[in-house]
Amino acid sequence: MNELKDNDKSIIVRTEDLSKSFLNGQSIIKATDRINLTIASGEFTAVVGPSGSGKTTLLNLIGGLTTPSSGKVVVKGIDINQLKDKELVNFRLHNIGFVFQLLNLIPVLTVEENIGFVMELQGADKEQRIARTAELLELIGMKDRAGSRPSTLSGGQKQRVAVARALASKPLFILADEPTANLDTEAAETLLNTMLLLNEKEKITFLFSTHDPRVMNKARRLITLEDGRITKDERYVR
Protein backbone atom coordinates (compact mmCIF):
# COMPACT_ATOMS: atom_id res chain seq x y z
CA MET A 1 0.00 0.00 0.00
CA ASN A 2 2.61 2.50 1.14
CA GLU A 3 4.76 1.71 -1.86
CA LEU A 4 2.21 3.42 -4.08
CA LYS A 5 3.68 6.57 -5.53
CA ASP A 6 2.19 9.97 -4.56
CA ASN A 7 1.74 10.84 -8.19
CA ASP A 8 -0.38 7.74 -8.74
CA LYS A 9 -3.62 9.09 -10.21
CA SER A 10 -5.64 6.32 -8.62
CA ILE A 11 -4.85 7.45 -5.05
CA ILE A 12 -7.77 9.28 -3.55
CA VAL A 13 -6.84 9.38 0.14
CA ARG A 14 -3.42 9.82 1.67
CA THR A 15 -2.57 10.25 5.32
CA GLU A 16 0.77 11.52 6.53
CA ASP A 17 1.93 10.80 10.07
CA LEU A 18 -1.66 11.05 11.16
CA SER A 19 -1.97 11.14 14.92
CA LYS A 20 -4.83 11.82 17.25
CA SER A 21 -4.45 12.01 21.00
CA PHE A 22 -7.09 12.34 23.65
CA LEU A 23 -6.65 13.50 27.18
CA ASN A 24 -7.99 11.00 29.68
CA GLY A 25 -7.62 12.53 33.10
CA GLN A 26 -3.89 13.02 33.57
CA SER A 27 -2.80 10.65 30.81
CA ILE A 28 -2.70 11.13 27.06
CA ILE A 29 -4.16 8.36 24.93
CA LYS A 30 -2.89 8.02 21.38
CA ALA A 31 -5.91 6.83 19.41
CA THR A 32 -3.91 6.88 16.17
CA ASP A 33 -0.15 7.13 16.04
CA ARG A 34 1.69 8.44 12.96
CA ILE A 35 -0.41 6.57 10.43
CA ASN A 36 0.71 6.70 6.83
CA LEU A 37 -1.83 5.25 4.49
CA THR A 38 -3.09 5.59 0.96
CA ILE A 39 -6.39 4.44 -0.44
CA ALA A 40 -6.74 3.95 -4.15
CA SER A 41 -9.88 4.30 -6.17
CA GLY A 42 -12.09 1.19 -6.28
CA GLU A 43 -10.64 -0.45 -3.19
CA PHE A 44 -12.79 -2.46 -0.80
CA THR A 45 -10.80 -2.04 2.38
CA ALA A 46 -11.53 -3.09 5.92
CA VAL A 47 -9.79 -1.56 8.92
CA VAL A 48 -9.72 -4.22 11.59
CA GLY A 49 -8.44 -4.52 15.07
CA PRO A 50 -9.56 -4.99 18.62
CA SER A 51 -11.84 -2.60 20.39
CA GLY A 52 -10.01 0.67 21.19
CA SER A 53 -7.36 0.11 18.52
CA GLY A 54 -8.32 3.40 16.78
CA LYS A 55 -10.48 2.16 13.88
CA THR A 56 -13.31 4.65 14.35
CA THR A 57 -10.88 7.50 15.07
CA LEU A 58 -9.00 6.74 11.84
CA LEU A 59 -12.23 6.77 9.83
CA ASN A 60 -13.36 9.99 11.51
CA LEU A 61 -10.01 11.61 10.70
CA ILE A 62 -10.18 10.53 7.07
CA GLY A 63 -13.80 11.75 6.86
CA GLY A 64 -12.89 15.14 8.32
CA LEU A 65 -15.12 14.55 11.32
CA THR A 66 -12.24 14.88 13.75
CA THR A 67 -9.25 17.20 13.65
CA PRO A 68 -5.88 15.43 13.91
CA SER A 69 -3.42 16.28 16.67
CA SER A 70 -0.67 16.13 14.06
CA GLY A 71 -0.17 14.97 10.50
CA LYS A 72 -2.60 15.45 7.67
CA VAL A 73 -5.28 13.87 5.55
CA VAL A 74 -5.13 14.61 1.85
CA VAL A 75 -8.20 13.78 -0.18
CA LYS A 76 -8.06 14.34 -3.93
CA GLY A 77 -4.93 16.45 -3.39
CA ILE A 78 -6.63 18.66 -0.81
CA ASP A 79 -5.43 18.83 2.78
CA ILE A 80 -8.89 18.66 4.35
CA ASN A 81 -7.69 19.92 7.71
CA GLN A 82 -6.88 23.26 6.14
CA LEU A 83 -10.48 23.74 5.14
CA LYS A 84 -12.77 25.97 7.19
CA ASP A 85 -15.77 24.37 8.91
CA LYS A 86 -18.23 25.34 6.21
CA GLU A 87 -15.84 24.30 3.43
CA LEU A 88 -15.26 21.00 5.14
CA VAL A 89 -18.99 20.27 5.41
CA ASN A 90 -19.33 21.13 1.74
CA PHE A 91 -16.33 18.96 0.90
CA ARG A 92 -17.86 16.00 2.72
CA LEU A 93 -21.18 16.62 1.03
CA HIS A 94 -19.64 16.32 -2.42
CA ASN A 95 -16.88 13.78 -1.86
CA ILE A 96 -17.52 11.42 1.01
CA GLY A 97 -20.38 9.07 1.76
CA PHE A 98 -20.98 7.88 5.30
CA VAL A 99 -22.54 4.78 6.77
CA PHE A 100 -22.69 4.73 10.52
CA GLN A 101 -23.20 1.95 12.96
CA LEU A 102 -26.44 3.46 14.29
CA LEU A 103 -28.72 6.40 13.61
CA ASN A 104 -28.12 6.54 9.90
CA LEU A 105 -31.47 7.55 8.56
CA ILE A 106 -33.70 10.55 9.04
CA PRO A 107 -36.81 9.20 10.78
CA VAL A 108 -39.24 11.70 9.24
CA LEU A 109 -38.25 10.93 5.66
CA THR A 110 -39.25 7.90 3.62
CA VAL A 111 -36.69 5.46 2.25
CA GLU A 112 -36.55 7.18 -1.13
CA GLU A 113 -36.38 10.63 0.47
CA ASN A 114 -33.51 9.44 2.67
CA ILE A 115 -31.65 8.17 -0.37
CA GLY A 116 -32.24 11.42 -2.24
CA PHE A 117 -31.41 13.57 0.77
CA VAL A 118 -27.72 14.18 0.07
CA MET A 119 -28.42 14.79 -3.61
CA GLU A 120 -31.01 17.39 -2.65
CA LEU A 121 -28.48 19.08 -0.37
CA GLN A 122 -26.10 19.11 -3.32
CA GLY A 123 -28.76 20.84 -5.39
CA ALA A 124 -29.30 18.02 -7.88
CA ASP A 125 -32.40 18.51 -10.00
CA LYS A 126 -35.55 16.53 -9.32
CA GLU A 127 -35.42 14.29 -12.38
CA GLN A 128 -31.82 13.33 -11.72
CA ARG A 129 -32.67 12.58 -8.09
CA ILE A 130 -35.67 10.45 -8.92
CA ALA A 131 -33.74 8.44 -11.52
CA ARG A 132 -30.76 7.85 -9.25
CA THR A 133 -32.96 6.93 -6.27
CA ALA A 134 -34.90 4.41 -8.37
CA GLU A 135 -31.66 2.92 -9.63
CA LEU A 136 -30.29 2.51 -6.10
CA LEU A 137 -33.53 1.12 -4.70
CA GLU A 138 -33.31 -1.50 -7.41
CA LEU A 139 -29.66 -2.21 -6.57
CA ILE A 140 -30.28 -2.68 -2.85
CA GLY A 141 -33.43 -4.67 -3.57
CA MET A 142 -35.79 -2.37 -1.73
CA LYS A 143 -37.95 -0.93 -4.48
CA ASP A 144 -41.09 -2.08 -2.71
CA ARG A 145 -40.15 -0.16 0.45
CA ALA A 146 -39.56 3.18 -1.26
CA GLY A 147 -42.35 4.92 0.61
CA SER A 148 -41.68 3.34 3.99
CA ARG A 149 -40.45 5.22 7.02
CA PRO A 150 -37.20 3.98 8.64
CA SER A 151 -39.07 2.97 11.79
CA THR A 152 -40.81 0.21 9.80
CA LEU A 153 -37.54 -1.27 8.47
CA SER A 154 -35.34 -3.98 9.92
CA GLY A 155 -31.76 -3.21 10.98
CA GLY A 156 -30.33 -4.71 7.81
CA GLN A 157 -32.73 -2.81 5.59
CA LYS A 158 -31.84 0.42 7.35
CA GLN A 159 -28.14 -0.19 6.71
CA ARG A 160 -28.76 -0.95 3.05
CA VAL A 161 -30.70 2.30 2.71
CA ALA A 162 -27.82 4.07 4.46
CA VAL A 163 -25.38 2.61 1.93
CA ALA A 164 -27.65 3.71 -0.91
CA ARG A 165 -27.89 7.20 0.61
CA ALA A 166 -24.10 7.33 0.96
CA LEU A 167 -23.44 6.56 -2.65
CA ALA A 168 -26.44 8.34 -4.16
CA SER A 169 -24.35 11.40 -4.89
CA LYS A 170 -21.53 9.27 -6.38
CA PRO A 171 -18.92 10.23 -3.79
CA LEU A 172 -15.20 9.64 -4.13
CA PHE A 173 -15.36 7.01 -1.40
CA ILE A 174 -17.60 5.70 1.33
CA LEU A 175 -16.62 5.44 4.98
CA ALA A 176 -18.55 2.85 6.91
CA ASP A 177 -18.05 2.52 10.65
CA GLU A 178 -18.93 -0.99 11.82
CA PRO A 179 -21.81 -1.25 9.34
CA THR A 180 -22.75 -4.78 10.35
CA ALA A 181 -22.27 -4.41 14.09
CA ASN A 182 -25.94 -4.57 14.93
CA LEU A 183 -27.04 -6.98 12.23
CA ASP A 184 -27.80 -10.68 12.33
CA THR A 185 -25.84 -13.02 10.05
CA GLU A 186 -28.32 -12.93 7.18
CA ALA A 187 -28.72 -9.17 7.24
CA ALA A 188 -24.95 -8.68 7.48
CA GLU A 189 -24.44 -11.03 4.52
CA THR A 190 -27.00 -9.18 2.44
CA LEU A 191 -25.46 -5.81 3.30
CA LEU A 192 -21.95 -6.96 2.45
CA ASN A 193 -23.10 -8.44 -0.83
CA THR A 194 -24.82 -5.14 -1.63
CA MET A 195 -21.65 -3.21 -0.84
CA LEU A 196 -19.55 -5.58 -2.92
CA LEU A 197 -21.99 -5.33 -5.81
CA LEU A 198 -21.82 -1.56 -5.68
CA ASN A 199 -18.06 -1.68 -5.44
CA GLU A 200 -17.86 -3.80 -8.53
CA LYS A 201 -20.67 -2.22 -10.51
CA GLU A 202 -20.21 1.43 -9.65
CA LYS A 203 -16.48 1.27 -8.82
CA ILE A 204 -17.24 2.83 -5.47
CA THR A 205 -14.36 2.85 -3.00
CA PHE A 206 -15.29 1.49 0.41
CA LEU A 207 -13.29 1.96 3.58
CA PHE A 208 -14.91 0.40 6.58
CA SER A 209 -14.01 -0.49 10.09
CA THR A 210 -15.02 -3.84 11.55
CA HIS A 211 -14.17 -6.57 13.93
CA ASP A 212 -16.72 -8.87 12.31
CA PRO A 213 -14.98 -11.88 10.68
CA ARG A 214 -17.77 -12.09 8.05
CA VAL A 215 -16.81 -8.63 6.83
CA MET A 216 -13.08 -9.32 7.00
CA ASN A 217 -13.53 -12.33 4.76
CA LYS A 218 -15.13 -10.21 2.06
CA ALA A 219 -12.55 -7.42 2.11
CA ARG A 220 -9.88 -7.25 -0.58
CA ARG A 221 -7.54 -5.35 1.67
CA LEU A 222 -7.21 -5.66 5.40
CA ILE A 223 -5.51 -2.98 7.45
CA THR A 224 -4.89 -4.12 11.00
CA LEU A 225 -4.61 -1.53 13.75
CA GLU A 226 -3.23 -2.12 17.19
CA ASP A 227 -2.80 0.66 19.73
CA GLY A 228 -3.33 3.22 17.03
CA ARG A 229 -0.64 1.87 14.72
CA ILE A 230 -0.86 -0.12 11.50
CA THR A 231 0.55 -3.52 12.21
CA LYS A 232 -0.53 -5.27 9.01
CA ASP A 233 -1.66 -4.17 5.57
CA GLU A 234 -2.63 -7.17 3.46
CA ARG A 235 -4.31 -7.55 0.08
CA TYR A 236 -6.38 -10.47 -1.06
CA VAL A 237 -7.82 -11.61 -4.33
CA ARG A 238 -11.37 -12.84 -3.67
Partner: protein, 398 residues
Protein backbone atom coordinates in the same frame (compact mmCIF):
# COMPACT_ATOMS: atom_id res chain seq x y z
CA UNK B 1 -33.87 23.11 0.04
CA UNK B 2 -37.43 21.82 -0.17
CA UNK B 3 -36.34 18.81 1.88
CA UNK B 4 -35.45 21.08 4.81
CA UNK B 5 -39.00 22.49 4.93
CA UNK B 6 -40.40 18.97 4.57
CA UNK B 7 -38.30 17.69 7.46
CA UNK B 8 -39.13 20.73 9.59
CA UNK B 9 -42.85 20.21 9.06
CA UNK B 10 -42.78 16.48 9.71
CA UNK B 11 -40.64 16.92 12.82
CA UNK B 12 -43.60 18.66 14.46
CA UNK B 13 -45.51 15.39 14.46
CA UNK B 14 -42.72 13.22 15.86
CA UNK B 15 -43.77 13.79 19.45
CA UNK B 16 -47.45 14.39 18.97
CA UNK B 17 -48.22 14.82 22.66
CA UNK B 18 -45.55 17.42 23.28
CA UNK B 19 -46.17 19.29 20.02
CA UNK B 20 -49.90 19.20 20.73
CA UNK B 21 -49.31 20.70 24.14
CA UNK B 22 -47.17 23.57 22.89
CA UNK B 23 -49.66 24.21 20.06
CA UNK B 24 -52.49 24.39 22.60
CA UNK B 25 -50.44 26.68 24.85
CA UNK B 26 -49.50 29.05 22.02
CA UNK B 27 -53.02 28.93 20.54
CA UNK B 28 -54.57 29.84 23.90
CA UNK B 29 -51.94 32.53 24.39
CA UNK B 30 -52.59 34.01 20.94
CA UNK B 31 -56.34 33.81 21.57
CA UNK B 32 -55.98 35.51 24.95
CA UNK B 33 -53.72 38.21 23.53
CA UNK B 34 -55.81 38.90 20.42
CA UNK B 35 -59.12 38.77 22.28
CA UNK B 36 -57.61 41.02 24.94
CA UNK B 37 -56.64 43.45 22.19
CA UNK B 38 -60.15 43.23 20.75
CA UNK B 39 -61.68 44.00 24.15
CA UNK B 40 -59.29 46.87 24.63
CA UNK B 41 -60.17 48.15 21.13
CA UNK B 42 -63.86 47.74 21.88
CA UNK B 43 -63.56 49.58 25.15
CA UNK B 44 -61.56 52.48 23.73
CA UNK B 45 -63.86 52.67 20.72
CA UNK B 46 -66.81 52.78 23.07
CA UNK B 47 -65.18 55.66 24.95
CA UNK B 48 -64.39 57.51 21.72
CA UNK B 49 -67.82 56.83 20.26
CA UNK B 50 -69.54 57.99 23.43
CA UNK B 51 -67.59 61.24 23.48
CA UNK B 52 -67.91 61.85 19.78
CA UNK B 53 -71.63 61.05 19.71
CA UNK B 54 -72.58 62.89 22.86
CA UNK B 55 -70.05 65.63 23.28
CA UNK B 56 -67.53 66.54 20.65
CA UNK B 57 -68.59 65.26 17.18
CA UNK B 58 -65.63 64.68 14.87
CA UNK B 59 -64.48 68.28 14.66
CA UNK B 60 -65.46 71.63 16.07
CA UNK B 61 -64.90 75.16 14.86
CA UNK B 62 -64.75 78.17 17.17
CA UNK B 63 -63.72 81.76 16.80
CA UNK B 64 -60.01 82.08 17.46
CA UNK B 65 -60.44 83.87 20.78
CA UNK B 66 -63.30 81.70 21.96
CA UNK B 67 -62.07 79.71 24.90
CA UNK B 68 -63.32 77.46 27.63
CA UNK B 69 -64.69 80.60 29.30
CA UNK B 70 -67.31 80.69 26.52
CA UNK B 71 -67.09 84.42 25.77
CA UNK B 72 -70.38 85.41 24.15
CA UNK B 73 -68.77 88.22 22.17
CA UNK B 74 -66.37 85.88 20.40
CA UNK B 75 -68.72 84.68 17.71
CA UNK B 76 -68.42 83.65 14.05
CA UNK B 77 -70.55 84.44 11.03
CA UNK B 78 -72.66 81.39 10.24
CA UNK B 79 -72.91 82.12 6.52
CA UNK B 80 -69.11 82.30 6.13
CA UNK B 81 -68.56 78.98 7.87
CA UNK B 82 -71.54 77.34 6.15
CA UNK B 83 -70.25 78.35 2.72
CA UNK B 84 -66.81 76.99 3.54
CA UNK B 85 -68.13 73.70 4.82
CA UNK B 86 -70.28 73.22 1.73
CA UNK B 87 -67.03 73.21 -0.28
CA UNK B 88 -65.52 70.36 1.74
CA UNK B 89 -66.84 67.05 0.42
CA UNK B 90 -65.94 65.03 3.49
CA UNK B 91 -68.20 67.08 5.74
CA UNK B 92 -71.56 65.33 6.05
CA UNK B 93 -73.38 67.20 8.82
CA UNK B 94 -72.82 70.37 10.77
CA UNK B 95 -74.66 71.91 13.69
CA UNK B 96 -74.26 75.66 14.22
CA UNK B 97 -74.52 76.36 17.92
CA UNK B 98 -74.57 79.17 20.42
CA UNK B 99 -72.70 78.58 23.63
CA UNK B 100 -72.60 80.48 26.89
CA UNK B 101 -72.30 80.04 30.63
CA UNK B 102 -75.55 80.26 32.54
CA UNK B 103 -77.01 79.94 35.99
CA UNK B 104 -80.14 77.81 36.28
CA UNK B 105 -82.28 78.46 39.29
CA UNK B 106 -85.37 76.97 40.84
CA UNK B 107 -87.01 77.78 44.15
CA UNK B 108 -84.88 74.98 45.53
CA UNK B 109 -81.34 75.82 44.33
CA UNK B 110 -79.14 77.14 41.53
CA UNK B 111 -76.60 75.41 39.34
CA UNK B 112 -74.09 76.85 36.93
CA UNK B 113 -73.53 75.15 33.63
CA UNK B 114 -72.84 75.54 29.94
CA UNK B 115 -75.87 76.38 27.89
CA UNK B 116 -75.89 75.27 24.26
CA UNK B 117 -78.31 76.83 21.80
CA UNK B 118 -79.12 74.45 18.98
CA UNK B 119 -81.29 73.97 15.94
CA UNK B 120 -82.96 70.62 16.60
CA UNK B 121 -82.83 69.38 13.02
CA UNK B 122 -79.11 70.13 12.76
CA UNK B 123 -78.26 68.89 16.23
CA UNK B 124 -79.77 65.44 16.02
CA UNK B 125 -77.51 64.73 13.04
CA UNK B 126 -74.28 65.42 14.91
CA UNK B 127 -75.18 64.34 18.43
CA UNK B 128 -77.04 61.47 20.05
CA UNK B 129 -78.15 63.37 23.12
CA UNK B 130 -81.75 63.17 21.90
CA UNK B 131 -81.57 59.37 21.93
CA UNK B 132 -80.79 59.30 25.65
CA UNK B 133 -84.11 60.89 26.55
CA UNK B 134 -86.47 58.23 27.80
CA UNK B 135 -90.12 58.05 26.74
CA UNK B 136 -91.27 59.46 30.11
CA UNK B 137 -88.65 62.18 30.13
CA UNK B 138 -90.00 64.59 27.52
CA UNK B 139 -88.23 65.14 24.23
CA UNK B 140 -85.54 67.01 22.45
CA UNK B 141 -87.48 70.16 21.48
CA UNK B 142 -90.38 68.21 20.02
CA UNK B 143 -93.16 69.25 22.42
CA UNK B 144 -95.26 72.40 22.36
CA UNK B 145 -93.64 73.74 25.52
CA UNK B 146 -92.72 77.40 25.13
CA UNK B 147 -88.99 78.08 25.64
CA UNK B 148 -88.05 74.53 26.47
CA UNK B 149 -84.75 73.63 28.10
CA UNK B 150 -83.28 70.13 28.01
CA UNK B 151 -81.25 69.34 31.11
CA UNK B 152 -79.75 66.16 32.41
CA UNK B 153 -81.52 63.99 34.95
CA UNK B 154 -78.77 64.68 37.45
CA UNK B 155 -79.17 68.46 37.01
CA UNK B 156 -82.94 68.03 37.37
CA UNK B 157 -82.42 66.20 40.63
CA UNK B 158 -80.10 68.89 41.92
CA UNK B 159 -82.61 71.58 40.90
CA UNK B 160 -85.50 69.51 42.19
CA UNK B 161 -87.15 69.99 38.79
CA UNK B 162 -89.13 67.74 36.47
CA UNK B 163 -90.74 67.96 33.05
CA UNK B 164 -92.48 71.32 32.57
CA UNK B 165 -90.87 72.73 35.72
CA UNK B 166 -89.99 76.38 35.52
CA UNK B 167 -86.33 77.32 35.57
CA UNK B 168 -84.97 80.81 35.75
CA UNK B 169 -82.00 81.23 33.52
CA UNK B 170 -79.44 83.95 34.17
CA UNK B 171 -76.69 84.78 31.72
CA UNK B 172 -74.44 87.58 30.59
CA UNK B 173 -74.94 89.10 27.15
CA UNK B 174 -72.14 90.27 24.86
CA UNK B 175 -72.05 93.67 26.53
CA UNK B 176 -71.75 92.17 30.01
CA UNK B 177 -75.32 92.86 31.03
CA UNK B 178 -77.07 90.15 33.07
CA UNK B 179 -80.16 88.79 31.37
CA UNK B 180 -82.81 86.71 33.10
CA UNK B 181 -85.58 84.72 31.58
CA UNK B 182 -87.76 81.77 32.33
CA UNK B 183 -87.55 78.39 30.56
CA UNK B 184 -89.53 75.22 31.15
CA UNK B 185 -87.95 71.79 31.33
CA UNK B 186 -88.80 70.08 28.05
CA UNK B 187 -86.62 67.01 28.29
CA UNK B 188 -84.32 65.08 30.60
CA UNK B 189 -81.32 63.37 29.08
CA UNK B 190 -78.79 61.05 30.59
CA UNK B 191 -75.46 60.14 29.05
CA UNK B 192 -72.82 57.83 30.49
CA UNK B 193 -70.78 60.81 31.61
CA UNK B 194 -71.75 62.32 34.96
CA UNK B 195 -69.34 65.17 34.31
CA UNK B 196 -71.01 66.10 31.02
CA UNK B 197 -74.51 65.73 32.49
CA UNK B 198 -73.73 68.00 35.41
CA UNK B 199 -72.39 70.77 33.22
CA UNK B 200 -74.51 70.89 30.08
CA UNK B 201 -78.01 72.04 29.13
CA UNK B 202 -79.62 72.67 25.76
CA UNK B 203 -82.05 75.32 24.56
CA UNK B 204 -83.30 76.28 21.12
CA UNK B 205 -80.96 78.67 19.36
CA UNK B 206 -83.87 80.91 18.46
CA UNK B 207 -84.89 81.16 22.14
CA UNK B 208 -81.37 82.01 23.28
CA UNK B 209 -80.19 84.56 20.76
CA UNK B 210 -82.42 87.45 21.94
CA UNK B 211 -80.68 87.36 25.32
CA UNK B 212 -77.11 87.39 24.04
CA UNK B 213 -77.09 90.71 22.25
CA UNK B 214 -75.32 89.33 19.20
CA UNK B 215 -76.29 89.37 15.49
CA UNK B 216 -78.92 86.93 14.21
CA UNK B 217 -76.30 85.05 12.13
CA UNK B 218 -73.80 84.77 14.99
CA UNK B 219 -72.67 81.35 16.14
CA UNK B 220 -70.15 80.24 18.75
CA UNK B 221 -69.50 76.68 17.80
CA UNK B 222 -69.88 74.41 14.80
CA UNK B 223 -69.98 70.66 15.45
CA UNK B 224 -69.04 68.63 12.38
CA UNK B 225 -69.49 65.03 11.37
CA UNK B 226 -67.31 63.77 8.51
CA UNK B 227 -67.89 60.79 6.23
CA UNK B 228 -65.21 58.64 7.77
CA UNK B 229 -63.78 58.93 11.25
CA UNK B 230 -60.28 58.50 9.78
CA UNK B 231 -60.70 61.63 7.64
CA UNK B 232 -60.59 63.95 10.65
CA UNK B 233 -56.95 64.94 10.17
CA UNK B 234 -57.42 65.58 6.48
CA UNK B 235 -60.58 67.67 7.00
CA UNK B 236 -58.96 69.59 9.83
CA UNK B 237 -56.06 70.43 7.55
CA UNK B 238 -58.39 71.59 4.77
CA UNK B 239 -60.52 73.69 7.10
CA UNK B 240 -57.47 75.26 8.72
CA UNK B 241 -56.44 76.53 5.32
CA UNK B 242 -59.93 77.69 4.36
CA UNK B 243 -60.69 79.30 7.72
CA UNK B 244 -57.34 80.61 8.96
CA UNK B 245 -58.90 82.91 11.56
CA UNK B 246 -60.81 80.11 13.17
CA UNK B 247 -59.87 77.54 15.71
CA UNK B 248 -60.44 74.02 14.39
CA UNK B 249 -60.03 71.08 16.70
CA UNK B 250 -60.42 67.35 16.37
CA UNK B 251 -62.39 65.23 18.81
CA UNK B 252 -59.30 64.17 20.76
CA UNK B 253 -58.03 67.74 21.02
CA UNK B 254 -61.36 68.92 22.32
CA UNK B 255 -61.31 66.51 25.16
CA UNK B 256 -57.71 66.00 26.34
CA UNK B 257 -58.69 62.98 28.41
CA UNK B 258 -59.38 61.17 25.16
CA UNK B 259 -55.80 61.92 24.15
CA UNK B 260 -54.71 60.32 27.40
CA UNK B 261 -57.04 57.36 26.93
CA UNK B 262 -55.76 56.95 23.38
CA UNK B 263 -52.13 57.00 24.54
CA UNK B 264 -52.87 54.76 27.50
CA UNK B 265 -54.66 52.31 25.25
CA UNK B 266 -51.59 52.12 23.00
CA UNK B 267 -49.19 51.70 25.93
CA UNK B 268 -51.42 49.18 27.72
CA UNK B 269 -51.85 47.13 24.58
CA UNK B 270 -48.11 47.22 23.95
CA UNK B 271 -47.27 46.16 27.52
CA UNK B 272 -49.92 43.48 27.44
CA UNK B 273 -48.56 42.06 24.20
CA UNK B 274 -44.96 42.44 25.39
CA UNK B 275 -45.68 40.35 28.50
CA UNK B 276 -47.49 37.82 26.41
CA UNK B 277 -44.66 37.62 23.90
CA UNK B 278 -42.02 37.26 26.61
CA UNK B 279 -44.00 34.37 28.10
CA UNK B 280 -44.51 32.90 24.65
CA UNK B 281 -40.83 33.28 23.80
CA UNK B 282 -39.73 31.57 27.02
CA UNK B 283 -42.10 28.63 26.58
CA UNK B 284 -41.16 28.27 22.91
CA UNK B 285 -37.46 28.33 23.80
CA UNK B 286 -37.99 25.62 26.42
CA UNK B 287 -40.03 23.53 24.03
CA UNK B 288 -37.47 23.81 21.24
CA UNK B 289 -34.60 23.21 23.63
CA UNK B 290 -36.18 19.93 24.75
CA UNK B 291 -37.02 19.03 21.20
CA UNK B 292 -33.57 19.63 19.73
CA UNK B 293 -31.44 18.35 22.58
CA UNK B 294 -32.95 14.89 22.34
CA UNK B 295 -32.11 14.91 18.63
CA UNK B 296 -28.49 15.96 19.06
CA UNK B 297 -27.27 12.65 17.62
CA UNK B 298 -29.46 13.11 14.57
CA UNK B 299 -28.19 16.64 13.98
CA UNK B 300 -24.63 15.36 14.29
CA UNK B 301 -25.37 12.71 11.68
CA UNK B 302 -26.93 15.31 9.37
CA UNK B 303 -23.86 17.48 9.74
CA UNK B 304 -21.55 14.54 9.02
CA UNK B 305 -23.33 13.69 5.79
CA UNK B 306 -23.02 17.27 4.59
CA UNK B 307 -25.84 19.35 6.05
CA UNK B 308 -24.20 22.61 7.02
CA UNK B 309 -24.93 24.31 10.34
CA UNK B 310 -26.90 27.11 8.68
CA UNK B 311 -29.21 24.55 7.08
CA UNK B 312 -29.70 22.77 10.41
CA UNK B 313 -30.45 26.16 11.96
CA UNK B 314 -32.92 26.94 9.17
CA UNK B 315 -34.63 23.60 9.74
CA UNK B 316 -35.05 24.33 13.47
CA UNK B 317 -36.35 27.81 12.73
CA UNK B 318 -38.83 26.46 10.19
CA UNK B 319 -39.94 23.75 12.61
CA UNK B 320 -40.67 26.41 15.24
CA UNK B 321 -42.34 28.67 12.71
CA UNK B 322 -44.59 25.89 11.44
CA UNK B 323 -45.54 24.97 15.01
CA UNK B 324 -46.25 28.59 15.80
CA UNK B 325 -48.20 29.10 12.57
CA UNK B 326 -50.46 26.15 13.29
CA UNK B 327 -51.01 27.38 16.85
CA UNK B 328 -51.46 30.98 15.72
CA UNK B 329 -54.06 30.00 13.12
CA UNK B 330 -56.06 28.18 15.80
CA UNK B 331 -55.69 31.05 18.27
CA UNK B 332 -56.67 33.72 15.75
CA UNK B 333 -59.59 31.63 14.52
CA UNK B 334 -60.85 31.32 18.10
CA UNK B 335 -60.48 35.07 18.45
CA UNK B 336 -62.45 35.72 15.23
CA UNK B 337 -65.22 33.45 16.47
CA UNK B 338 -65.30 35.11 19.89
CA UNK B 339 -65.24 38.62 18.40
CA UNK B 340 -67.97 37.62 15.93
CA UNK B 341 -70.11 36.35 18.81
CA UNK B 342 -69.58 39.17 21.26
CA UNK B 343 -69.48 42.00 18.75
CA UNK B 344 -73.25 41.56 18.42
CA UNK B 345 -74.29 40.86 22.00
CA UNK B 346 -71.47 42.76 23.74
CA UNK B 347 -69.92 41.93 27.10
CA UNK B 348 -71.36 43.83 30.05
CA UNK B 349 -68.65 44.78 32.55
CA UNK B 350 -71.09 46.57 34.85
CA UNK B 351 -70.22 44.18 37.65
CA UNK B 352 -66.80 45.81 37.82
CA UNK B 353 -68.25 49.17 38.80
CA UNK B 354 -70.36 50.50 41.56
CA UNK B 355 -73.92 50.82 40.29
CA UNK B 356 -74.46 54.57 40.34
CA UNK B 357 -71.24 55.80 38.84
CA UNK B 358 -71.01 56.63 35.16
CA UNK B 359 -67.55 57.08 33.73
CA UNK B 360 -68.25 58.47 30.30
CA UNK B 361 -68.64 55.24 28.42
CA UNK B 362 -71.02 52.35 28.17
CA UNK B 363 -70.35 49.35 30.38
CA UNK B 364 -71.17 47.08 27.46
CA UNK B 365 -68.04 46.40 25.42
CA UNK B 366 -68.30 45.27 21.84
CA UNK B 367 -64.94 43.64 21.03
CA UNK B 368 -63.48 44.60 17.73
CA UNK B 369 -60.30 43.69 15.94
CA UNK B 370 -59.08 44.74 12.55
CA UNK B 371 -56.69 43.23 10.04
CA UNK B 372 -53.91 45.50 11.22
CA UNK B 373 -54.08 43.96 14.70
CA UNK B 374 -53.96 40.49 13.17
CA UNK B 375 -50.93 41.44 11.08
CA UNK B 376 -49.20 42.90 14.17
CA UNK B 377 -49.84 39.76 16.21
CA UNK B 378 -48.85 37.52 13.30
CA UNK B 379 -45.58 39.35 12.69
CA UNK B 380 -44.69 39.67 16.37
CA UNK B 381 -45.43 36.03 17.19
CA UNK B 382 -43.44 34.93 14.15
CA UNK B 383 -40.49 37.13 15.07
CA UNK B 384 -40.57 36.00 18.70
CA UNK B 385 -40.68 32.36 17.68
CA UNK B 386 -37.62 32.85 15.46
CA UNK B 387 -35.80 34.59 18.32
CA UNK B 388 -36.82 31.74 20.62
CA UNK B 389 -34.96 29.26 18.42
CA UNK B 390 -31.62 31.08 18.62
CA UNK B 391 -30.58 29.59 21.93
CA UNK B 392 -31.49 25.96 20.98
CA UNK B 393 -29.73 26.40 17.63
CA UNK B 394 -26.63 27.73 19.35
CA UNK B 395 -26.69 24.79 21.72
CA UNK B 396 -27.06 22.25 18.92
CA UNK B 397 -24.43 23.73 16.64
CA UNK B 398 -21.95 23.84 19.49
Amino acid sequence: MKIIYKMAFRNIFRKKGRSGLIIVVIALGVFAASFGVSLSNGWSESVYREHIDMQTSHLQIHANKFSDANEVAEFMDKSVVQETLSAVDEVVYASYRLKTNALLSTAYTSVGLILIGVDRDEEIKVSSIHSTIGSDDGGFFESAIVRPIVISKSSAERLNAGINSRIILSLQDSSGEIQRTMFRVGGLYQTNSTRFDNTTAFVKKSDLIPYLNIPEEAIHEVAIVVKDFRQCDEVKHKLSQLLPRHDIKKWDELYPLLHLINAWHGIATFLFLLLFFIALGVSTTNFMMMSVLERKGEFRMLNKVGMAGNRIGLMIIMETLFTTLIAMSIGLLLCVLAVETFSKSGIDIKFLFDNDSRHGYSTVIYPTIDNRDFVHIFVLVSVISVIATLSPIKKVLK
